[in-house]
Symmetry: C2
Subunit: 343 residues, 2 copies
DNA sequence: TTGTACGCGTTATCAC
DNA sequence: GTGATAACGCGTACAA
């Protein structure tokens, strides 16, 4: 005999035999119970329980050429910004038959391309990727993917398919205008990592300052190192050493901003009176800090929720109201940029 | 004819036809190129490239009853503690053919059980789950899973299969002893979420205090709310209101500790002189804060790395040196518990 | 509402 | 070293 031994686990056929029905009836009971008579359904459900039967998802995917997999590719697992969005995606996907397949591109475009290729090998139901800065090959693969694709965290007039996020450029610009309005004059920028989104924030910020005649490129300090609080403190120190007249900074994210605050505190510099600080994203810690820190609030959870919603709608054949959803942002002004009147 | 139309993507058969070989040879070229002659291999590789062929992972999983999937179940996606471990897992798994399937149990045991069931449906190559507090049914499923299982973040004499982590009880005890040694006398505890691991930390902490005759249950304040900096500040305020004589607290994690520090700062209370604060995990922010915060350092990245290593070894048939690996912890004493001598 | 027959794309088995 | 053929477990198409 040439029989192969499967993993040994019970199959749909075992269930069918035990319940004295055909396999297709078991299959239907699993996927669309309403199509099966109550009597049979109960017998089948009992058999499933008795055998501890677990459907084989790969066999199902192969037979139906649908995988129920939603591929999600983010550039970082430790960045809280993505953590909130991921949580939303998992929360939304969980009650449905869909499953998340998560990839970490580590802010490397080539790695993102590799992950897209791998995920495509699973014939996913949908794909969610961060941002709009894919390699040419990656973009081509996404455009040819025969499934809905949602780009998140940004808005762009030319999405692969759908998009939900906000304008980083405008967020940065709002930060710049805020500092000017608060009376700061020698306004700098501290940026780590400087991925494309951080870069757009910086550009918007520069534009905001330029409009007010307050743009001084010498006060901008960036690095490609990953962002961290320690690095925020360090860059703050370096920038002050170079330009002691500095009186405010926009940090490209909240970790950098809180680190910059700690740096000032260790150095005995008063925030906001000597230096104003504003961050980006408004993580929970910003409101808790002492002094509380001004930031640009973005709704990361809602981005994830909306992305899954768009996917679900697309899978159900609905046409979305809009291909690109701009969730905006909101400046949260707090103590760290509220300095007393200049004497 | 009753032919079905696949998704339209090229299959291994298309590659075989183009290269004028049989499908099995293509399959071998993909999985074990050494078993195929150079001439054929080159022809096949050219055909793969020409057709942009991507292997269908579900078909492969079905035929081989091996899936290359490593299921990972953690209780939280936003908790930085797991973020570091996840990053390590992804880093380790990425260069191998293995793929991560991530589940979020949200600190709900029943949800964890559900995820284990789903993951088992994918016939995973291995499973990684957080902790050792599964439901009875979940534990049974894990024990019957015919794949390596690694429980992470804890150590326990009775693992399902393998385990890597550290003792939360001992970590808590070390925190207690440290506060006593630093001269604090009315020592409290602030705890949020209070999942089983937090609970063990608290128990170890209480034991540490008890040994020194400093255990006062009235100074322990816990809640089931999720931990956050805001909550840390809040509980700190409540505890001080109830017991103004409080002079030190152990917070069940670093977020709570930093929040407690912020709370003190907003209230004008000096840390460490009036109140000492110690956290748990030693996230990067602890060293950066002002004052820097004492914490119990745990090597979360190494936990993830080790877990994947153990899996790889098990899949290659090696017998591990030890089923349970204790990575330990290290107390990082900093400013927040270094008060000046009592006058 | 339920069942029969076959195909999904790949790999294990056995033969050459 | 290479190939023919039969599984792998399930879903679709069609029939009853």
């Amino acid at each position: 005999m040439r029989k192969r031994k499967g993993a040994g686990r019970p199959t749909i056929a075992d269930v069918a035999k035990k319940a004295e029905v055909s396999t297709i009836t078991v299959s239907r009971t699993l996927r669309d119970p309403a199509k099966v008579s109550t009597a049979l359904r109960e017998r089948i459900e009992a058999a499933i329980a008795a055998l501890d039967y677990v459907p084989h998802s790969h066999a199902s995917a192969l037979a139906s050429s649908r995988s129920n997999i939603v591929g999600v590719i983010v550039p970082s697992l430790t960045n809280n910004v993505f953590a909130d969005t991921l949580r939303a995606i998992y929360d939304e996907v969980d009650p449905s038959p869909l499953q998340v397949q998560l990839g970490n591109s580590r802010y490397v475009a080539a790695e993102e391309e590799r992950l897209i290729r791998i995920f495509l090998g699973q014939r996913p139901s949908a794909l969610i990727v961060a941002g709009g800065d894919q390699t040419k090959a990656a973009r081509a693969m996404l455009e040819n993917a025969d499934c809905p694709v949602v780009q998140i965290m940004e808005v762009d007039p030319d999405p692969v398919d759908m998009m939900v996020g906000f304008s980083h450029y405008e967020g940065g610009r709002a930060a710049g205008m805020h500092l000017v309005q608060q009376g700061y004059r020698r306004i700098g920028f501290i940026g780590a990592r400087m991925d494309p989104r951080s870069r757009r924030r910086m550009e918007g910020f520069a534009e905001g300052l330029r409009t007010a005649g307050r743009h001084d490129p010498d006060l901008f300090m960036i690095t490609t190192q990953s962002s961290s609080m320690t690095l925020g403190a360090e860059l703050m120190g370096q920038l002050r050493a170079r330009r002691p007249d500095l009186d405010a900074v926009f940090c490209n994210n909240d970790d950098m901003a809180l680190g910059a605050l700690f740096g000032c505190q260790h150095a005995g510099i008063s925030v906001p009176d000597e230096i104003g600080i504003i961050g980006f994203n408004d993580l929970e810690m910003m409101a808790a800090a002492c002094p509380s820190l001004t930031s640009i609030r973005t709704d990361r959870y809602e981005i994830g929720r909306t992305a899954v919603d768009m996917i679900r709608a697309a899978l159900e054949g609905e046409r979305p109201d809009q291909k690109v959803v701009d969730l905006g942002f909101e400046l949260q002004a707090r103590q760290s940029t509220a300095r007393k009147a200049r004497r």
